[in-house]
């Protein structure tokens, strides 16, 4: 834009500047804005899956304690099983901690997306106000709104990435758990008269880990949108 010495022309120049600034605002965020209500539903569904996994992983910790107790009752014949069940206990605690972290981060993401929804709604009202005429104050308001939106989108993008990383980490942990559970089943065969009990306990743990893994895989699908 070329600056003008004529006041009339200056008003036209200023209006054009405002209009193109608004176009930039509008262009900048549209895809993300459209996705926000969908994102809230998506993150809420993810939150429910994570809550379910947290609940299941508490049960897993009890199963792992049970495996230790069964191994102790079975005595020296099942030293191998005892070693594996100790590792299972450690794995279940680690998983429980990881799930707690994930739940906290997803909870923060829920609040972040809900807040962006509020800012998006304000934006729609501001845009509607500017349809026939665009006073400078409105352009400024839209700019401020866009800054708030961008900050919200950045924080939420980081939140989604973090959730994905934590889900991937949890899935890797589950792989460890699977290996341990299979190891426990193998060791259980050498448990003599306690063998059936040991196998049953190991199978329960394996089934629980599979359940957790399925939920986490579903969670990652949600994160990827």
């Amino acid at each position: 834009m070329i600056a003008s010495r004529s006041p009339g022309r200056a008003v036209v120049v200023k209006k054009r500047r405002g209009a193109s600034a608004l176009s930039a605002c509008t262009r900048g965020c549209e895809d993300e804005i459209t996705a926000t209500a969908r994102d809230l539903a998506r993150v809420t569904e993810l939150n429910e899956k994570i809550k379910a996994v947290v609940s299941i992983s508490h049960g897993l910790q009890l199963d792992a304690i049970n495996a230790r107790l069964v191994a102790r009752r079975a005595g020296h014949r099942v030293r191998g099983y005892a070693v594996v069940s100790t590792e299972l206990r450690s794995f279940s605690r680690h998983l429980g901690y990881q799930m707690g972290e994930l739940m906290g981060n997803v909870g923060t993401l829920v609040g972040g997306i809900a807040d962006v929804l509020r800012i998006v709604r304000q934006r729609r009202h501001l845009q509607a106000a500017g349809r026939s005429k665009l006073p400078p104050g409105l352009v400024d308001a839209l700019h401020r709104n866009e800054v708030a939106l961008r900050q919200g989108f950045e924080a939420n993008t980081f939140g989604w990435r973090r959730a994905d990383q934590e889900l991937r980490h949890s899935l890797k942990l589950c792989e460890t758990g699977r290996v341990l559970a299979r190891g426990a089943k193998i060791e259980a065969v050498y448990g003599g008269e306690r063998s059936d009990e040991l196998i049953q306990t190991s199978q329960a743990i394996e089934a629980t880990i599979e359940l957790i893994r399925d939920r986490l895989v579903a969670g990652r699908t949600l994160v990827k949108g």
């Binding site: 809230l40 539903a41 807040d115």
Partner: protein, 248 residues
């Protein structure tokens, strides 16, 4: 962050209180939201202002799937009660909002369309949440002209909107009234100025005395339990209200 606290539970019938956000800016009046759950169904009372939507939503999501909420109940039209309506409808466009018939053309300025609202007639109405019945009880002119409370007979709970409200000082976090005489000092200023009609007060007190109420749950402040419920009703019945009128 607001916190969700179970205040009543009987099997799958639960009342949750959403309250006490230490990060709330002090220019915003503090509010309590209540989530009534029955089985897989839920209703949210006075869901709150748009500025606290994120805090309320995430507090609920931490304990209960927000998708289970099928309806909102708005005791009246104030912005701290229902200005978040449009945001709730973005999340679930199928939500219904119970509201006094007086306000069904006013509250759409916050959001919603004609079919969003279930207009409550002045005499009130029964509604279902899951297997349980709730009753919208008239409380007009306390303070709004079209105003309802929500009675859960099975739980013995009356959600009483602004009646019973107290503006608690900073640091007062208790969800329940423990010392009535001390607490009521925080309620008095609110009631003498906001409640405009002695006739409406006495009508409400007579009505409330006939209900089975173990907990009186207001939209601001703390919950009255047990003997404090009747203590509050008696106190309210004696109160001189309508102090905003300037006499020449």
């Amino acid at each position: 962050m607001k916190k969700m606290t179970r205040v009543y539970e009987s099997g799958d019938h639960v009342w949750w209180m959403v309250a006490r956000d230490p990060e709330r800016p002090n220019y915003l009046i503090d509010t309590n939201e209540y989530l009534v759950v029955s089985g897989e169904d839920a209703l949210l009372t006075d869901p709150g202002g748009s500025e606290v939507f994120a805090a309320v939503f995430s507090a609920i999501a931490a304990e209960v799937d927000p998708a289970r909420i099928h309806a909102l109940f708005a005791s009246h039209q104030d912005p701290d009660i229902i200005s978040s309506l449009a945001l709730w409808l973005e999340f679930n466009p199928n939500l219904r909002c119970y509201l006094s018939q007086l306000w069904t053309t006013f509250v759409p300025h916050f959001g919603g369309q004609a079919d969003t609202f279930v207009a409550l007639p002045d005499e009130g109405m029964r509604m279902k949440v899951g297997r349980h019945d709730l009753v919208a009880v008239p409380a007009h002119y306390l303070h709004s002209s079209g105003n309802f409370h929500l009675h859960d007979e099975q739980a013995g709970i009356l959600f009483s909107g602004d009646v019973g409200a107290a503006i608690l000082p900073v640091g007062e976090e208790a969800l329940f009234v423990d010392d009535f005489d001390r607490h009521i000092r925080f309620a008095e200023g609110f009631h003498v100025r906001w409640m405009g009609s002695r006739e409406a007060v006495l009508d409400w007190c007579e009505r409330a005395s006939g209900l089975s109420i173990d907990m009186l749950c207001p939209q601001h402040g703390a919950i009255y339990r047990g003997a404090d419920v009747m203590r509050f009703i008696n106190w309210f019945a004696e109160l001189k209200v309508g102090t905003g009128l300037c006499r020449r």
